[in-house]
Symmetry: C2
Subunit: 494 residues, 2 copies
Amino acid sequence: MARLPSSYEPPVHAFGNRLGSNGLYGDLRAAILTGRLRPGARIPSSRELAGKLGVARGTVVAAFEQLAAEGYLDARPGSGTRVSAVLPDTLLSRVGPARSRAEAAHSTPALSARGRQLARTPFPIAPALTHVGAFRPHMPALQEFPIKLWATIVSKQARSLTTQSLVDGDARGHALLRCAIAEYLGSARGVRCTEAQVLVLASVQQGLDLATRLLLDEGDLAWCEDPGYAGAVAGFRAAGIAPCPIPVDEYGMDVAWAERRHPTARMAYVTPAHQAPLGVSLSLPRRLTLLDWARRRKAWIFEDDYDSEYRYSGKPLPPLQSLDENDCVLYAGCFSKTLFPALRIAYLVIPVGFADAFAAARSVTSRYPPVLDQLVLAEFMREGHYARHLRRMRQLYAERRSLLVKLVNQRLANKLEVMNNATGLNLVCWLTQGLSQDALLERCKSSGLAVHALSRYSAEWKRRQRDGLVLGFASMTAPAIRIAVGKLAGALDC
Amino acid sequence: MARLPSSYEPPVHAFGNRLGSNGLYGDLRAAILTGRLRPGARIPSSRELAGKLGVARGTVVAAFEQLAAEGYLDARPGSGTRVSAVLPDTLLSRVGPARSRAEAAHSTPALSARGRQLARTPFPIAPALTHVGAFRPHMPALQEFPIKLWATIVSKQARSLTTQSLVDGDARGHALLRCAIAEYLGSARGVRCTEAQVLVLASVQQGLDLATRLLLDEGDLAWCEDPGYAGAVAGFRAAGIAPCPIPVDEYGMDVAWAERRHPTARMAYVTPAHQAPLGVSLSLPRRLTLLDWARRRKAWIFEDDYDSEYRYSGKPLPPLQSLDENDCVLYAGCFSKTLFPALRIAYLVIPVGFADAFAAARSVTSRYPPVLDQLVLAEFMREGHYARHLRRMRQLYAERRSLLVKLVNQRLANKLEVMNNATGLNLVCWLTQGLSQDALLERCKSSGLAVHALSRYSAEWKRRQRDGLVLGFASMTAPAIRIAVGKLAGALDC
């Protein structure tokens, strides 16, 4: 390529395979950015250049116009077209070889202090779901999900989309879905709310994020169950809140202990219906003590009604929210376990006076939820499919759980003690003997078992006397459970 | 209803219309919670009660079991069933009439300091879209969106859902969509990235929220264009960042002014391709100065490639991201204007070294995006529908814009001066005379015109000499434009 310091000689050969204004545009721009064409350099007229290159003049004009629009070229009546003289020095510093990685890293900015905390997550960024193994906890029976029925409703709702629905944005969520959720929660869970208190979200995690940012300030304390849901601990940290691990026993979170140790906490995260991961219910006395603490301290309760739908004896316990007289309970739930995780729809029920603030915060941090999915779910609920699916899954999971309990008691009773809460998607078993847990988990893994250790859910497990296993049963067929118990027996040397 | 302090007399009349364990359960629970049944009170045997009520004994047993599970009743061999003695004092405080609103408000907790800032939003929570009026800015031609084609792809993808796809969660977004976006951005916009740098989000707003929380700390400063996008200003405030309004002229944001006034800012929010709302491009010298400032100060640039797709002469300008050598540019875009807003899909292109941190932050604050919508959009892009739709809209909008410019110049030239940037969905017109803007907007509104005043986009408009109008044209047919210009002429007394 010709290198003239004060005028442009087009690289004719280059146009053999990329004729047109794009090629010329790119060449000229590269020549300017690399300093081959200096500021003020004269550019031939479009007529002249078109002749030299053997292209249509319009092609050259288009390239010139683009470069002028971007500030690379300057066309003035009388003085022809020149490389812009006002290019700053930084442009010239771009001349020369690309900088090394080390140099680039030196001038790259970094995460902020709070950003380093925020980037910590207990969730895998891209789970490799093809290698999961038996007993994987927290897994519903997706094989039993009525995909065809769902697809039919999706198709129907997609065909019914109107110009209006393409722009239907409500930061609280679509009114039809909010009504369906409020109705379901009222009848199935005893939640006292209207649709105006329901906020449709992408996940309970998003609800916790909004709640901590709206209701707490940096450095505030929050009670978390221990063992408990790691997402809550991480969610608090992400929002600059210090999580306080509170021990859980057979009556749920030890509220009295929590108040003695951390009386000034501003929020309590609890899973009262079905403690994650132990499966126990928060006892009534503790519920009332918790509400009383919140009232006296003007603190908040984030009630994650985790897996409350799956209770196999008696009906699910009514939520804390239904006992709240101080508008201090935020009630959260989601459809990931009851329908399917990739749906990404959850909800928060908010005390009346705070619903607008939550909607505003959702709007300014992520706007509003996608419309089609909400319309589909609203129809699925309205037509009774949701209630039917829940009933069917409750029955199925109860059978699967019974089988697993029976087999564990038959074959593994000298090593595992079943924690007998007929709830949830997982069975918790205490290790009865001083087994080396790390070695056990390694053997489970190599046998294709995806069991979790209870200590995985705990920040302070060292204090505990013994560990346990969390066995997911909901997604496993009876034959699969039988095979997996055999493998577990092998891993436990039973 | 009988009120016995030490034993339970069922309200027989109450069972006339709500037989069954639920009714009995509710009555007993209410009696305990209101103190009508005191701790320790004896409850008749299930047989006795069933006889009195004339219901099946199983019904009574079910209610008892539920109440025992919740801790209200205590059943001990030999001593019969009694109201739980361990109910704490708080329970009794619930006796008596419901508290007044004022009392409740007194003990209700409040928003936190940062929460009050977060709850401020420039977006309507639930827009009333049926009353919008002509010239509404930022509105694409949704009437022209190929809804049927979209519905066909939705149906196809819904029918193809597998058990695996029901649980396909990637915090970065679905790989198929990330690939489609990376390919589109590379070819159509000159963005240099791989799919590993693409983060699929619900909105640009969510991208800004993540960026400010990951990269900035509370109290940091950020440059914002003035006039500019109100969502950016609000987004910064929501994350505890102080937005610094930077004037915009015909070359875009005045970067030199910004550095003189606020040299220590940690981030600049810019719309370089098509400044929102003026429509100008950031000039090349200013682009380079901005990049140089970011390099020297180790600051970040948030490039919102706002409406860059809609440029009606020449091709869209290449983004700042393509000139970035310091990994300091975050490139954001979305499908709300090019497809439809209710889709709720946007993206952020992140410097290689920070992609994992962003994915982690997205995961801990809201998990991952819904899968079906992403599969649909990926197919729509892969099959070329997206590029075709964009071409068609570009052509249509160019025609609509030309018509509007022609009519304004013909009929309103003595009152409005067209800002002639052939870009975007809106036409900006300066008011040439000292018109009272408030009165003008009032008259526009009563004529059914949804025009915006330029000052609406500005924090510091007082400094400016004159105001202007923002006229949305993209969603208006030619006849509608003609009618609306007539109404505008009336409002302007032309």
